[in-house]
């Protein structure tokens, strides 16, 4: 997955619009260096309306940006646990899918054909 510093410039624009709407106490939790990086790297010509936000018509990179910031700086301890649990479930599911796809026990059966 992409990291916070290598996203599309339009994502920084969209992310900034949303982050700027947060309550001041939440905004204060996000480090200044993150704000500076976002402002320096955003596409100033890109427009996003609240309808895009409301209907989740956002770039995938925007969601990555928001998710990273929320998980690291804004989520409560309880929410962090829930996020971790969700990630673990997804990880286990992907491992299971990979195992079923590449099940070594099937190799010999395939070769037999």
């Amino acid at each position: 997955m992409k990291d916070l510093y290598h996203l599309h410039p339009k994502a920084y624009t969209e992310g900034y619009q949303i982050l700027d709407m947060l309550p001041q106490e939440s905004k204060d939790k996000i480090p200044e260096k993150i704000w500076d990086f976002i402002k320096k790297n955003m596409d100033v010509n890109h427009e996003v309306t609240f309808e895009d936000i409301y209907k989740n018509n956002l770039l995938e990179d925007t969601n990555i940006l928001l998710a990273i910031i929320y998980k690291q700086y804004l989520a409560t301890e309880e929410e962090k646990k829930i996020i971790k649990a969700k990630e673990d479930i997804v990880k286990r599911r992907k491992e299971k899918e990979a195992y079923e796809k590449y099940n070594p026990n099937d190799i010999f059966k395939r070769h037999k054909k």
Binding site: K2, Y5, L22, F50, N63, Y70, Y73, L74, V90
Partner: protein, 562 residues
């Protein structure tokens, strides 16, 4: 069988044409009319040829002109020809399933669900150049919008919210669609043609006027909340701070959260627009003026259709004035953008302010002005000399079966002020109507309870505040220590008594004007929307794997910014 003329998106040359904008046809000239007739013939033939077609627009047949032929669900036998159509009103949202003869491959048609206006009013010309105004709703609205968007190079694969679904249309059988017999390759064939996110955003930037037209123009989309506020005595528009606060609040409500801000006032809506523009404050989408008329500031049209019957009002005034029961020097009427009134010496102080806006027109002979004006009359008021005269006016209304409501109050000089307006038009009914349209606009049976706030300071706000209270929302009184607000509170406490014991709102009193209260409410809503967007992002991203740390990939000091 003659080959179909319909352009196909899979063909690169056709695709280029389908993406272009079309021009209007000059229906004032004979050449234009001839061209329109020729195109209409071709379009109608194609509609009949293509089994199951609801309509075609000229661009689909390679001709970049604004003319369409459609069959509505209301009348499947007749084709309607619309030349140079324009949308003049949209209301609500509905999701309809639709396909397009240009989006297919080898008769395998693609269908999708799109948000379309629930109700739409269209202005167009017929083949003789005569103007038509036609309402469409639900599926017919979808049919019109589908063809209308072809004039702007838009297709059903643009701005998709639902995945395209491919089905095979059985020849000769309309309405029957099946996936049987389709291979995965056939199903996947169009997947690569779906617009990427870059293309979607590029399209939006290149067509800002289309975005505004479809998204904003007259459309009351589903809203989460509405703030209705009286103006005079309730909002501070005199100080710089007050104007700045209100401007910020309106921007947050209508631009950064899913809300509406509506000024409800006795003044004509046109006057409010001018006042706001004069102060550099964003004009909200709707204004309720003349104590009950809902005005759409984007379309510059009224949602409220009722009007006073002009001829009958003239007869009434003439009768009252001639008999000496009404004062000719105190009659006024409103057309929605201006108020025409007799020049009265004792309003000299307000004259200077009102003349600046140009929305108060002083006439030597108001009755003549009323007779001469071609504009519709929203409200009328006159001064009469006795209660008996008030009753005579009431009798006149009843005997002539006029749908007019009458309110009156006694004046200090012993006379009475009589206000006439169409029946059922007052702040409360309009507040509830706009709330129903905006909050229930997507047909969901969602209660409007607790979704709107009303703010006022005078007794003409009482119906609006009572309605809010009864619907579980706060009724807010601004500037609580003023005489007007005290009078309002006393009347309001009486008016809300019948609702005690039910699930009602609360009575809130503010020390001063409502600007700060509205801004605080707007900030709260915008913050909720932002927080919701962030939590949704977490859910979506976590679905793809572990969310990385904010430190991962952190740029070094020597790394240049993008």
């Amino acid at each position: 069988m003659e080959k179909s003329k319909v352009l196909k998106y899979v063909n690169p040359e056709d695709k280029e044409i389908l993406r272009k904008h079309s021009e209007e046809i000059d229906m004032t000239s004979e050449e234009g009319k001839e061209e329109a007739r020729a195109l209409a013939m071709v379009l109608m033939e194609e509609v009949e040829r293509q089994n199951g077609a609801a309509g075609f627009s000229a661009p689909q047949l390679g001709n970049l002109k604004r003319i369409m032929a459609i069959k509505t669900f209301q009348d499947r036998e007749t084709q309607l020809i619309l030349v140079n159509p324009e949308i003049i009103d949209m209301q609500g949202v509905s999701k309809e399933e639709e396909g397009c003869f240009s989006i297919d491959y080898d008769h395998h048609y693609y269908w999708t669900f799109k948000d379309r206006p629930f109700r739409i009013t269209v202005k167009a010309q017929d083949l003789d150049g005569n103007e038509l105004t036609i309402p469409f709703s639900v599926a017919d609205s979808m049919i019109f919008m589908h063809e209308y968007e072809h004039f702007f190079g838009e297709l059903i694969i643009d701005n998709l919210e639902e995945k395209l679904d491919i089905v095979k249309a059985e020849a000769g059988k309309t309405g029957i669609r099946t996936k049987e017999g389709l291979t995965q390759e056939q199903i996947d064939r169009f997947v690569v043609e779906l617009p990427t996110e870059e293309e979607k955003y590029k399209w939006k930037r290149e067509h800002p006027e289309r975005k505004r037209e479809v998204k904003d123009r007259g459309m009351i989309d589903h809203k989460d909340y509405i703030v209705f506020s009286d103006k005079d005595g309730t909002l501070d528009l005199e100080t710089e701070e007050g104007c700045k606060t209100l401007a910020e609040a309106i921007t947050l409500i209508e631009g950064k959260s899913n809300g509406l801000f509506v000024i409800t006032t006795a003044r004509p809506a046109g006057e409010i627009v001018k006042i706001l523009e004069d102060k550099g404050i964003p004009v909200p989408k709707y204004i309720i003026g003349d104590n009950g008329f809902i005005y759409n500031t984007i379309d510059e049209t009224y949602v409220t259709e009722e009007r006073l019957p002009k001829e009958e009002m003239l007869d009434l005034i003439n009768d009252m004035v001639t008999s000496g029961k009404a004062g000719k020097d105190e009659i006024e009427f409103s057309t929605g953008d201006v108020v025409i009134l007799q020049d009265c010496p004792y309003t000299a102080k307000s004259k200077a302010y009102e003349r600046k806006l140009g929305t108060r027109i002083f006439s030597q002979d108001v009755v003549q002005s009323l007779s001469d004006t071609e504009k519709e009359i929203l409200s009328l008021s006159l001064r009469v000399s006795s209660v008996q005269a008030v009753e005579e006016i009431r009798e006149y209304i009843e005997n002539n079966h006029l749908k007019v409501q009458l309110n009156y109050q006694s004046l200090d000089d012993g006379n009475y002020s009589v206000d006439l307006a169409p029946s059922g038009i007052h702040k409360a009914t309009s507040v509830l109507k706009l709330s129903q349209l905006a909050i229930n606009g997507d047909k969901k049976r969602e209660d409007i309870r607790g979704k709107f706030t009303t703010i006022g300071d005078g007794t003409n706000d009482i119906t609006m505040l009572t309605a809010a209270y009864a619907h579980g929302e706060n009724a807010v009184i601004a500037d609580k220590d003023s005489e007007e607000s005290k009078e309002l509170k006393a009347e309001l406490e009486n008016a809300i008594k019948p609702y005690e014991g039910f699930k009602t709102g609360e009575l809130v009193e503010l020390d001063g004007p409502a600007n700060d209260y509205i801004l605080a409410l707007a900030k709260e809503k915008a913050e909720k929307l932002a927080s919701k967007a962030m939590r949704r992002a977490v859910g979506m991203v976590a679905e793809n794997g572990e969310i990385p740390s904010a430190e991962k990939g952190s740029p070094t000091k020597t790394e240049k910014s993008k």
